[in-house]
Assembly symmetry: C2
Homo-oligomer: 138 residues x 2
Amino acid sequence: MERRTRQRSALEELLGRNTGFRSAQQLHTMLRDEGEPVSLATVYRLLQSMAGDGEVDVLRSQESENRYRRCHRQEHHHHLVCRHCGHTVEVAETTVERWAARTARQHGFAAVTHTLELLGTCTACYTTPATATRSGNE
Amino acid sequence: MERRTRQRSALEELLGRNTGFRSAQQLHTMLRDEGEPVSLATVYRLLQSMAGDGEVDVLRSQESENRYRRCHRQEHHHHLVCRHCGHTVEVAETTVERWAARTARQHGFAAVTHTLELLGTCTACYTTPATATRSGNE
DNA sequence: TTCCCTGCAAAGCTTTTGCAGTGGG
DNA sequence: CCCACTGCAAAAGCTTTGCAGGGAA
């Protein structure tokens, strides 16, 4: 199965310390800065593999890049993401699910899935605007 | 302001005849096939301009490409898209909006926006599987 | 006559892939 | 001892951009 390599361990460890969504390139740079260099291609391969196993959540950002984040719950859920610092709250709710199912039925659609992301400004960022562009954890 | 060129007219006319989301490349091909060739770069520039004016809706597809569709209502709304034929239903509802606002408040987030897309199989496509891969209108 | 718009080709971005070498089990 | 995994570099999409010519107003 999956081999426990230095690269995979380093990436998992890094993801474990972050609560926000990061791009593959950001993760690649962070690893390099921490003295645990991993080639960009490998970062992509690892993230792809992890996403397949449900280890990370993938977010299609407004820009044309994907962002990844350690997945903390297996059940279906959504994300409330801070647009400034990337801090994320996982939201498990059935309101939207029920609405989606009802709407689909009304229009005769079957096998309906949905994607939903909430983007806003978290308390920390609108309380202390100066730190709004920080790129660290949380 | 905006000049009424052959290219812009052709694209608007084409979008007006379609109810589904199409990629820039698809639109480019369709125009070419109709004998109204428009360069791909221009298709992109026109779509970008139209999206800015709210003339078209932009959908970030699962693949790494954007898809465009003529926008029929100005108010905030969501889309129920058929994954086979691209047929789209615009859904204006407040259930999700109210839920999003409530959730954001609970977690101390401000200025929250959301993206929501419903993807399924429309009646026509699961009734007649043979036509499930058609690429035409509707 | 302007100067906005277009076409072409080249470049930019993120992401994927081919290939040969290496380290995990 | 294998062969999955890695790094490198090239390639593959989609999209944007520089530039010079052409057409709308």
